[in-house]
Symmetry: C2
Subunit: 253 residues, 2 copies
């Protein structure tokens, strides 16, 4: 646990496993910023010697960091700090969704949080280009109103455009992280279009009102309209669930 000099270079706290030691060592430097994206960290062997652990242990820590998308391990070249990237989260959500269903509502709350804040920022910051993008997305929603697949994509694009218009990188990352979860819910909602008649009007009119509020640069109204939009969507989903559970004919499954 000590290196050759007998020095506790990384103060191996008692009860701390070797893996944790290495992980903590790297974490510290990464969080503190002494290791920045693009930096190549020490070769595995040196790291092992430095921390007084074996190479396999160092590799375990690197794999963990790699799984989190923090570092990139380049064969026979070295391990490099990556620019944080949301793609890892996709991995995570893929696993999570494969097994747990209750997550949906909870993630939806986070989504609402992100979008409502973004729309307020959008009212303050949206550029002409942002507004045009929103307008195009709106147009696309109208065009694809009867197509589940394309319609879901258009719906998603519109909401993502709101976040983009807000201009906050962090909010964008969060939104992206929930992207496919959202996408699924969007598609699911789309499948109700033929079930519940008022749905078409809801989809088109609500999004138009949202757009108008942003264009009018009225944060409070935009926020309120967006919240209402989510609430109504929720209602539709609930109604649809009832309609399905008290069916004229079972639709399969």
């Amino acid at each position: 646990m000590k290196n050759v000099n007998g020095m506790d270079i990384a103060r191996p706290n008692e009860g701390q496993t070797g893996f944790e030691l290495v992980f903590a060592f790297l974490r510290e430097r990464l969080l503190a910023g002494s290791l920045r994206p693009g930096d190549r960290l020490l070769p595995e062997r040196e790291l092992a010697a430095l921390l007084g652990v074996s190479r396999p242990i160092v590799r375990e820590a690197l794999r963990a960091l790699n799984a989190l998308g923090i570092v990139e391990i380049r064969e026979r070249s070295g391990t490099v700090v990556r620019t944080p990237d949301v793609t890892v989260l996709n991995d995570f959500f893929a696993f999570a969704l494969a097994q747990q269903d209750g997550l949906g509502d909870d993630v939806m709350q986070a989504r609402i949080a992100v979008e409502c804040q973004s729309i307020r920022l959008a009212c303050a910051n949206a550029s002409v280009a942002d507004l045009e993008r929103l307008q195009r997305a709106l147009q696309r929603i109208v065009e694809t109103i009867d197509d589940h697949e394309a319609g879901g994509a258009a719906d998603y694009a519109f909401h993502r455009a709101i976040v983009t218009a807000g201009g906050s990188r962090t909010l964008g990352v969060l939104h992206d992280a929930m992207a496919h979860v959202l996408m699924r819910s969007h598609i699911a909602r789309r499948e109700l279009v033929q079930v519940v008649a008022p749905m078409r009007a809801y989809l088109i009119e609500d999004h138009r009102r949202i757009f108008d509020a942003i264009a009018a640069r009225d944060p409070a109204r935009a926020d309120a309209v967006l919240r209402e939009h989510f609430a109504i969507g929720d209602d539709f989903r609930r109604q649809a669930a009832l309609a399905v559970s008290t069916p004229a004919r079972a639709t399969g499954r």
Copy 2:
């Protein structure tokens, strides 16, 4: 790359590294659902033998899965599939947020998003225990009004309690992920207490109003009060920045 029988039990695609082989093997089963939360997977040694790789490689894969929160490695007991949990995102965000510059304001937007959504949920869901926790936090803010360190902690605790009261796990994780950034900003704000006189009243009264709004279970008001709280804090910081840049005496750092 082949096991003892020469059989490609897990079809070691050419060009596929041993690590990838193991990871893919487990991923497949996890996504397909043949491995469900609670299941204990094979001991490392057996897994290694089964896939025809060495134990260190298996351990690398397990560490990766572990980092993603997919499995839990229990010393001397075995590795178990976890029920997916958003807490992993903690690690990810911690790293991601630590590495981008000028992220402060941006993260603040995400924080506002999280808290404003949480406070709305809190108005609907807060339990008596939640309210009591908020009340205690409020009391603590009053008590520590002149102590930067403790005061910052109390401030943070109050805001965290809002999120807790909201009841959304995901929002909680997001908030935690930003914890250290927030904490820093809280402390920084505290240092202004002696600079700007109205600060004391602001800190105490604002938090009390926030608490009252939650206790009154008025989502819209709570949201509005909280936003105002953040806006005013922002103003104070701006004023302080000016005061410092046109200083009577530099306060050091």
